[in-house]
């Protein structure tokens, strides 16, 4: 419940304050969000399976976002940035799909 409230508070905060992202970080924001979604759905699944640990969640979120951004950054430097971000999105997308399917099974048992 607390993370959900925090999430909503964060969305409200972002909409109200409208912080501007530095130009240099802007290309990594979408990738960071996909990584965050992966961590989020993974946490939800772990919660439903009764194995949730907030420390693991925090660590996995931070490392996911940093690694995803770092992969895209390195790709940008060597000229394959868009391909590598596609790779990141594909891998994280598969994980999100699988986790959401597990969440659905856990919630409605179908």
């Amino acid at each position: 419940m607390i993370p959900l409230i925090g999430l909503l508070a964060g969305i409200a905060l972002g909409l109200i304050l409208e912080p501007t992202v530095p130009q240099a970080l802007q290309p990594y924001l979408p990738i960071a969000i996909v990584a965050a979604m992966d961590a989020l759905f993974g946490a939800l699944r772990a919660y439903l399976e009764g194995t949730f640990s907030d420390r693991v969640f925090v660590v996995s979120f931070v490392s996911n976002v940093l690694i995803a951004a770092a992969i895209v950054y390195v790709g940008d430097q060597i000229g394959v940035g868009s391909q590598l971000s596609t790779a990141v999105v594909v891998v994280l997308g598969i994980r999100i799909f699988t986790n959401v399917a597990a969440i659905r099974r856990a919630l409605i048992r179908a």
């Binding site: 607390i2 925090g6 909409l15 640990s53």
Partner: protein, 283 residues
């Protein structure tokens, strides 16, 4: 070795290692699907640690994710109208430029009419003026200052079908220059390319990918109209060097090249021809 496994053994090699899984090459994807959850969750749960009290970091991360969502959404929705308005502004500027061009063209036509009127009134009525006027009327169709109608021939040329692969298969400015010169040589009295009348001051050039006539770019196919004697013009053109040049381009490079005669062609005046120099004659 035993009869039951006989189907799986190869003669001379009784010990066959188990076959490689058919989807071994997809192992990476399989691994992602099989292990979508951070293994640490299971690890920590197995260790049976008490629930850590790290609520602060959890809330912080949740707030952070929320802010990221909001900011990204805001940025995407905010930049969309900006791009749209930029595009609209560019279109507006193009349209304004075209309008200004049209106005200037109308103004230029008005001024030409006025020059004609002033010239007529300045010439007066004496014998010399009549002779001058006759000369003007004889020369202006040839020079290109007035619109002309009459019979003639039409040549339509185009790039070769496979032009995208080889630049030499495209119609170049020099090809059109040769074509126009050949038509003059064959006795054409007035020539126009895609509706742009050629005069002695017309430049046929390439600019980027397009060919320009008097700095207005053409789009293919190129339709060259020439007013002249429609019975002799095609044959005389075919006899010129330009005719041979284009015949070869059509035969060897598959460029479009079609000639036909026309009963009545209408060629507009060249708007680029203006009065550049005027001198008052001694009375």
């Amino acid at each position: 070795m035993s009869a039951a496994r006989g189907t799986m053994t190869i003669p001379g090699r009784p010990d066959v290692t188990p076959a490689r899984p058919a989807d071994a090459s997809m192992d990476l994807l399989n691994q992602i699907i099989r292990e979508p959850l951070d293994p640490d969750y299971a690890l920590v749960a197995a260790r049976g640690e008490p629930r850590p009290t790290n609520r602060g970091a959890l809330v912080l991360v949740a707030v952070l994710i929320g802010v990221m969502f909001a900011v990204a959404t805001l940025q995407t929705t905010r930049s969309a109208p900006a791009l749209e308005s930029e595009r609209a502004e560019l279109i507006d500027r193009v349209q304004a430029g075209e309008q200004a061009q049209d106005q200037l063209r109308v103004r230029s036509a008005e001024l030409s009419t006025e020059i004609d009127r002033l010239r007529t009134s300045a010439l007066g009525d004496d014998d010399q003026a009549v002779a001058l006027r006759a000369q003007i009327e004889r020369l202006s169709p040839v020079v290109g200052t007035v619109a002309v109608t009459g019979p003639g021939m039409v040549i339509e040329v185009d790039d070769a079908p496979a032009a995208s692969t080889d630049a030499r298969d495209r119609v170049l400015d020099v090809d059109l220059q040769i074509l126009a010169n050949g038509l003059w040589q064959a006795g054409a009295e007035a020539v126009a390319i895609n509706g742009h009348r050629l005069s002695s001051l017309t430049a046929i050039r390439s600019a980027g990918d397009a060919i320009t006539v008097d700095f207005r770019s053409l789009t293919r196919p190129y339709r060259v109209e020439a007013i002249g004697d429609s019975r002799t013009l095609p044959a005389r053109f075919a006899g010129t060097a330009a005719g041979a040049w284009w015949h070869e381009l059509a035969a060897n490079r598959q460029m479009g090249y079609e000639t036909s005669t026309a009963r009545a062609l209408v060629l507009a005046a060249d708007p680029g021809l203006v009065l550049r120099h005027a001198r008052r004659t001694e009375p």
